[in-house]
Symmetry: C3
Subunit: 309 residues, 3 copies
């Protein structure tokens, strides 16, 4: 574990969680809820956003869509990013020509750095609540997707980035010991919420989760394979191609039987959040807006700046 | 996993799930419920059945009963078979001279091919419901048995055959990589119900179950050992003798303490089905009688016929 | 498993569960409940107890307390011992200078032999109930502790001793194959209650727990590492020093984030007992006072005496 922790410290200091994600455009409709809201947000997004944070390529021959995260410097999950993600995912979900989704990153060395700290630092409670709702939405949509979802993890994937990978059906990671993955929230003084925890427990079991979450562990790719946090390691330049090839095995199973089975496995976990969504938002907002937590975040960001300087 | 899947494809095409299980005799009492019904069914069975599908040998010296499944060609779990199984099990359960049960097969290369497809294809909803109730009964009795139950898996054991093995306390399998075991229902376009899933989760954990069920994986004997789907591999001719020898370890524990402990572990899973038995039957019947599912089954059976020809 | 069982038989015959724990002083306040009761018990304890069964050393520089169990011959969990344990733990819990706890034994070859059989044999129902309440209290306090808790297991740790270790955050065991650890209650004809079971399931998963509890397995240190029952093996003379060194990794995480995370993981299990504490006591008392169980205990104690002679 010493090695893992050293690894972890190195990662968390290398600026993967960026405090420099740039100004956040207030695209999010305040009164929006559910699908209607999202449709409405689509037009907002398209009108106001200069460049797309996510590239979507759907191959109508294979039925495989590749979503490439391309939001420099580290694919932080900002409100903008999450909104675009939810819209893109929903479109694919409703497209009968799409059976499988590969999630990957266009950026070097990073899959996604997770939740954008700037969305949690110095923001109003209302804004924090909107942000958290969007984080919930991302997970609800991805963990509950009817498509076959494969994460092609071609870089590090801490915190919310790890959650995104965990929400897929299968995880293929670049065989690079310098890439780390894990729910390392406690290292920042914050806490992974119960549904992050549930998703990890469903993947690696209760005991590994307890250690991973309490210590905020980032596992190197080989370590992640060993504990079952990822399913397969391949050379970095084969991550996406292996993901698309792997789809064949999943497409060999009749969709309806696979989907019912997937829902049977994941529905109880999803229902837990659905039945307590508001209180989960309230918990997050009251926690993150505490002075002590804001101070923790500021200290963390300052430590990142110093290391960069 | 490629190897597993290739293995799996081979198995599913080799006719293990037989469409040729012969005509099904309508022995099942329509108004029968619970123990009374079974007692009544015993006499029906004994009167009308020409040959027993299950041989039971109880050694009064050791307290070990060996149940040998002997229903050619592949020990399919037909309504007849399940009824005889439930009766035999109940008799042993009530016999104070019997403390342990070894389950094995008299047929070459196959433990049990699982649910008889012919019981699900082209049958009336009522008949399907009776069949499903008998499948439930098999699991409830075996998973909740007070005896020490050891599966001596001397051949392949897909789908319902796997469930039967999973319901025992311990699984010893023939060390033959050509034998497969797993809940491969989705390969047929059908879905393992929640209590099959729960039984697998209790044995190999949540993540392995998710992969196994979604992909309908059949694991080779060595793979099954690796993921904990079986507990021990021994040479094929030692499977039954190892099972009876293993009983000694279990008999060394006072029965009452072992039984209370077993019940503590399994009761919550059993209670889940008991509290939703009717809706589980209704779900099965409405699912299996759908045109699309009947078509899936027909296609599967035709593919088996072709491979045989 | 043959090796494990042989090991187990050897252990259970070597007198680790002592019937010679000496007379039990009736310190326990009958009307005492919760914190008030314990505070009141503190003074009782201090007034009447000649020698302390537990040594506590708190290093105010490091914030680490070492609790050394020193109740010869085998650190049996008697009512006295449990009462002193609960008081000591509560004091540390309320001491802001203490962030971490190391649990270890002063006795050779034994961490703790578990529940004192003498507290369960030939005692009045009332007394049995008091004892069981104290066992519950030990677990509730330790499993739910806000401190980082590390078990430095420098000897065998069957039954209740294993529970104590399982309730910590991390387990370091002496790398000695002659030391055994496990919930071996069924070997004595008694049954681990549901919260012992839940604690083990949370640590090693459902299937391993089922086997471990039904067969009353004691695992050798290397076997315990393999199944995840302990986290690390080190040479016997390094167990405590490794435990204190390991604290640094845990102290690197902000306390509040770690504590909320720990609570999120363990609260559901703790709440299960809290909501059924009285019925759990009643169950224990009615079980343990049965003639057949008393006979089992007597036979077990006699077998220990014979082996000693």
């Amino acid at each position: 574990m010493a090695a893992v922790l050293r690894q972890s410290a190195k990662y968390s200091l290398s600026g993967r969680l960026t405090p420099f994600a740039g100004p956040v455009t207030a695209l999010h409709s305040r009164n929006g809820r559910g699908r209607t809201a999202l449709s409405c947000l689509v037009s907002n997004q398209r009108n106001s956003s200069s460049a797309s944070k996510i590239k979507v390529d759907l191959d109508s021959n294979t039925g495989i869509a590749v979503m490439t995260l391309q939001s420099p410097p580290v694919n932080s999950l900002s409100l903008d990013f999450l909104t675009e993600f939810a819209i893109s995912l929903e479109k694919l979900e409703m497209d009968r020509g799409c059976r499988g989704l590969v999630l990957t990153s266009a950026l070097p060395k990073i899959f996604s750095a997770g939740l954008d700290i700037m969305e949690m630092y110095g923001k109003s409670p209302e804004r924090c609540g909107e942000f958290w709702k969007a984080v919930q939405e991302m997970w609800l949509k991805l963990y509950g997707s009817n498509m076959v979802t494969i994460a092609a993890i071609n870089g590090s994937s801490p915190a919310g980035g790890c959650l995104m990978a965990l929400s897929c059906d299968y995880r293929i990671m670049a065989d690079n010991p310098r890439y780390g993955i894990g729910l390392n929230e406690t290292q920042l003084g914050i806490v992974a919420p119960f549904w992050f925890k549930d998703t990890l427990v469903n993947t690696v079991g209760s005991r590994t989760t307890e250690l991973a979450l309490q210590l905020g562990l980032l596992y190197s790719a080989p370590e992640a394979l060993k504990i079952g946090l990822v399913d397969q390691l391949v050379p970095e330049d084969k991550v996406v191609s292996t993901a698309t090839e792997t789809m064949a095995k999943w497409f060999a199973i009749p969709d309806h039987a696979r989907q019912i089975t997937k829902s049977m496995m994941r529905k109880p976990t999803i229902d837990k959040l659905l039945s307590s969504r508001e209180s989960d938002i309230n918990n997050f907002v009251s926690f993150i807006t505490k002075d002590s937590i804001q101070k923790s975040l500021r200290m963390y960001m300052e430590s990142l700046k110093k290391r960069k300087a």
